[in-house]
C-alpha cells in the first residue's frame, strides 16, 4: 500500500466517524451531549481539510497511484 492510499484510508475512516457523530448528535436528547458532539465534528473537519491537502501533494509526488 502506498502512503497516499494509507492517508486516503484514514481520511475515509474520519469521514465515517463524522457521519456517525452527526447522526448521534441529532438523535441525542441532551443538549450538553449535542454540543460536545458538534465540537468533535468541527475538530475532525479541520483534520479532514489538512488531510485532503496532503493527499493532493502525495498524488503529485506519486503520479502513477492517482485515486480520488
Amino acid at each position: 500500500m502506498t502512503v497516499a492510499s494509507q492517508v486516503k484510508q484514514s481520511l475515509a475512516s474520519l469521514k465515517g466517524v463524522q457521519t456517525s457523530l452527526s447522526s448521534l448528535s441529532t438523535r441525542t436528547q441532551s443538549e450538553e451531549a449535542k454540543k460536545t458532539f458538534q465540537e468533535g465534528i468541527e475538530l475532525i473537519d479541520q483534520v479532514k481539510k489538512d488531510l485532503i491537502n496532503r493527499v493532493g501533494e502525495l498524488e503529485r509526488e506519486e503520479e502513477q497511484y492517482k485515486g480520488i
Binding site: V17, L21, L24, Q29, S30, A33, F37
Partner: protein, 285 residues
C-alpha cells in the same frame, strides 16, 4: 325495601365516597403519614364499615364521615399555607446525632433506646454509630442519616471524572406493540424503529420490551430468551475508529521525511486527541 337491597345500596354508595376521599387525600404514601393521619384513616374506615352494615343511620354516619374527612383536609390545606401550622400539625424532626455525637436527651424525649437507634442505623446499612455525622428522626418516624464524609459512597464528582449526561430512557415497545407517544418524545419515528429492528434482525412481534436511551440507541428484550440480541455497538465502534485515526496520524508523522507534513500530522494527531478526550465519556457507555 328488602334488607339486602338496602345493604347493597349502602355498600355501593360508600364505596364511591371512600374512593373519592382516597383520591382527595392524594398520593402521600401510607408510610409517610403521621400518627394523627393514620388514626384518621382508621376512623374513616370504621365509620364506613359501620354504615355499610347499618349499625348507624345513614345521615349521622355521613355527618361523622364528613367531619373526619373535611377537618383534617382543612388542616392539611392550612399547613400548606403556613409554616407554623405545618410544624404544629406535622411536627418537627428530632436530631438524634449531631457532629457525630448522640443526643441522649432527644432519644429519651422520643422514647428511643440505644438498641432502637442502632437497629434503625443498621437498616440504613450503618453498623457503627461513630460513622454517622448527623441523624434525624423525621416526623413520619423515618430516620435519615448523613454518614461522615469518608464513609459516603464515592461519586464521579469526588474523583473529578467527567461522565455523560443522562436523560430518562423511553419505552417504545411493550408486549410487541409500538408506543407512539414515548417514541415522539424521544424525537424518533415509527420508520426509524422498524429500520432499527431490521438491523438487529428481530420482528416486532417477538419484542417484549424495547427502550431507547438518550443517545437514541435501542435495547431490546425478546419473548424468545434463547435468541441473543446484540448490545448497541455503535458508540464503542465509533470511539475505536477515532482512536485508530489518531494513531494513524502519529504513525504518518513518524514515517514522513517532509518536515512540513510531519508538523501537520502532529498537529492533527493532537486535535484528534482533544476530540477523543472530549467525547470519550459520552462514547464509552
Amino acid at each position: 325495601m328488602p334488607e339486602w337491597i338496602e345493604a347493597f345500596l349502602r355498600s355501593i354508595s360508600l364505596l364511591i365516597i371512600i374512593f373519592v376521599i382516597a383520591k382527595f387525600i392524594g398520593k402521600r404514601q401510607l408510610s409517610q403519614l403521621t400518627a394523627f393521619e393514620f388514626m384518621i384513616g382508621i376512623i374513616i374506615a370504621v365509620i364506613a364499615a359501620e354504615l355499610t352494615l347499618g349499625g348507624v343511620s345513614f345521615v349521622s354516619g355521613f355527618v361523622g364521615l364528613s367531619v373526619w374527612f373535611l377537618i383534617p383536609f382543612l388542616i392539611t390545606w392550612l399547613a400548606l399555607k403556613s409554616k407554623a401550622i405545618h410544624d404544629f400539625v406535622r411536627g418537627k424532626g428530632t436530631v438524634f446525632i449531631k457532629d457525630g455525637k448522640i443526643m441522649e436527651d432527644n432519644l429519651k424525649k422520643e422514647s428511643f433506646t440505644s438498641d432502637d437507634l442502632l437497629q434503625r442505623l443498621r437498616s440504613k446499612n450503618i453498623f457503627q454509630a461513630a460513622d454517622v455525622e448527623f441523624a434525624v428522626l423525621e416526623p413520619d418516624g423515618e430516620i435519615n442519616v448523613l454518614p461522615k464524609r469518608e464513609n459516603q459512597p464515592i461519586t464521579p464528582k469526588d474523583v473529578a471524572a467527567t461522565v455523560a449526561p443522562i436523560k430518562e430512557p423511553q419505552t417504545v415497545i411493550m408486549d410487541g406493540d409500538i408506543m407512539k407517544e414515548p417514541l415522539a418524545t424521544a424525537g424518533l419515528s415509527v420508520n426509524w424503529l422498524h429500520t432499527e429492528l431490521e438491523k438487529q434482525g428481530v420482528t416486532i412481534e417477538n419484542v417484549y420490551l424495547g427502550q431507547v436511551d438518550n443517545f437514541g440507541q435501542l435495547t431490546l428484550d425478546l419473548f424468545d430468551d434463547k435468541l441473543q440480541v446484540p448490545s448497541p455497538q455503535e458508540k464503542p465502534a465509533l470511539l475505536a475508529t477515532l482512536k485508530k485515526c489518531q494513531a494513524d496520524m502519529e504513525m504518518f508523522a513518524l514515517s514522513t521525511e517532509n518536515q512540513e507534513a510531519k508538523q501537520m500530522y502532529t498537529k492533527n494527531s493532537q486535535k484528534l486527541q482533544t476530540a477523543i478526550d472530549k467525547m470519550e465519556p459520552l462514547l464509552k457507555s
